[in-house]
Amino acid sequence: MARTVIVGASVGGVRTAQALRAAGYDGEIVLIGDEDVPPYDKPPLSKALLAGTTTADRIGLLRANAAAEARVELALGNAATGVDREHRQVLLTDGTSQFYDDLVIATGARARPSPWGTPPGVHVLRSLADAEALGVALRAGGPLVVIGAGFIGAEVAATALGIGLDNVSVVDPVPVPLSRVLNPDVAAVFGALHTTRGVHTRFGVGVTDVKETGDGLEVYLDDGSVLPAATVVVGIGAVPNDDWLAGSGIPTDDGVLCDSHCRSIEDPHIWAVGDVARWWHPRYGRSVRLEHWTNAVEQAVCVAHNITHPEALRDHTPVEYVWSDQYDWKVQLVGRTGGEIAHVRVDGADPERSFAVLYADESDRFIGALTVNWPKALITCRRLLNRADAVPSSLPEVRALVDDVRRAARMGAR
C-alpha cells in the first residue's frame, strides 16, 4: 500500500492529510509532530488564546477521533532529525524511522530568536507553550515592552492592553512600522492606532540590549533611553525550520526549494507545504515563501492533488491573503501591496475606521488591496484578483466596484 509521511502537525501538515483523503488517496498517512500535544491552530495564540477568551482544547486542528476516522496515524512528540532518501526513511529523535513513498515537509517556521539573549521574562510567541507562558507572565502585570511592531507584536500589545495591562510599549527600529508591506502614509495609520489606544510607541529607535535587574528587566534603546519591563516580547519575524534537512540532499535556501508544483527540485517524491516551502511561483516568475495561514491551506490542497494525480500536476499560484486583528480593527491584505506602487484609498461606511487601499502595478493593473473593518470590500478585491489572469482590471474600475459595495450597504441599511 502507498504510504505518505507528513512531517509537521500544524495547519499545513494537518490540511495535507485531510486533503489527501478528500482527493481519494487510499494509502497510509502518517502525521509526525515534534510537540507532545494534539495538533492546534496558531492564529489564536496572539489573540483569543492569549486573551483567555478561548482555550487550548478549542483551537484543535485534528482530534484523535477525527484522525482515526480519516485513517491518519498521529506520531506526536517525536521530531524528525533527517531524511535517508536512498532508503526513503524519515529519521526520528527516538531512533526509529518511517518509510515513505511520498514525503511532505510541513515543519513551518520558528520565531527568530532574541539577539539580546533570553533572561527570564523575555518571550517569543510561536507555539502553544510560548502562548501559555506569555499569558501567565502578562497576568502578573506590566510593564510590557514589545520589540517589533509587525503583526505579531501589534496583536500582543493589543491583547495585553485588553487584559488590563496599563503600561505597554512597542519599540521598532523602523520610523513607520509595516511600511515594507504597506506604503508609509497608510502604515502610519496603524502606528497612530497604538497611540490612540494608550500604547507607548518608540518607532525609529533600535534596541541595543536587554538586561536583568534585581526585580525585572531593562530594555536599552539606541537613543540612550531605558525602558523598565516585567515582560519583553521579541516579535522580529520567523525563520523556516529546514535545518533538520541538512545532509539529506534536499536543497534548501530560506525554505525547501520546490518547483511550481511544490515538489523538491531534487526529488519528485518530496513535497513542501506552508511556511517552510519556497516554491517557484509561475505568475511572479520567482521563488516565493509565504508565512500565511491561508497559503498553507491552499498549498496543502495543491500538494494532495499532485500526489494523487501525478499525470495532471497543478501549479500553485495563489493570490496572497493575510489578516491581523489589532484592538477592534480587522486588517486584511490580499495580493501585492506596499512599496512604491500606486495606490488609491476608498472610504468605507465610517471613514474613521473602515477603508480600503487599492494597489496597482506600473501599467495600472489592480494587483492588491488592504481593507480595514470592511470584509465586503475584501471579497470584491479577492474575487477580482483570483481571476486577474483572465480579466486585467484597472485601478479606476476596481475603485468603482468597491464604491458600489459601500453604496449597496447604505441602501440595505435604510
Binding site: W293, T294, V297, Y321, W323, D325, P375, L378, R382, A408
Partner: protein, 65 residues
Amino acid sequence: MVIVKADLEACQGYANCVVGADDVFDLDDDGVVVLRRTTIEDSERTRVEEAARSCPVSALVIEDD
C-alpha cells in the same frame, strides 16, 4: 442530502469560504457569513468541505442529513 451549518458567533469575516464556494457562502455587510443554501448535493460535498476547511476559525460544519 448534506447539511451546511455556520457558527455566526465564531465567524470573523475572513471570507475564505466565499472564495472557496460562493454559491454556498456569502458575507453580510457586517462581515458575518450568510448561507445561501443550507443543503448541498453529495456531488458538491468535496468542494464545499474544502471551502469549510479553509475557515480560520472552524465556523463551518458539513454533515450528513
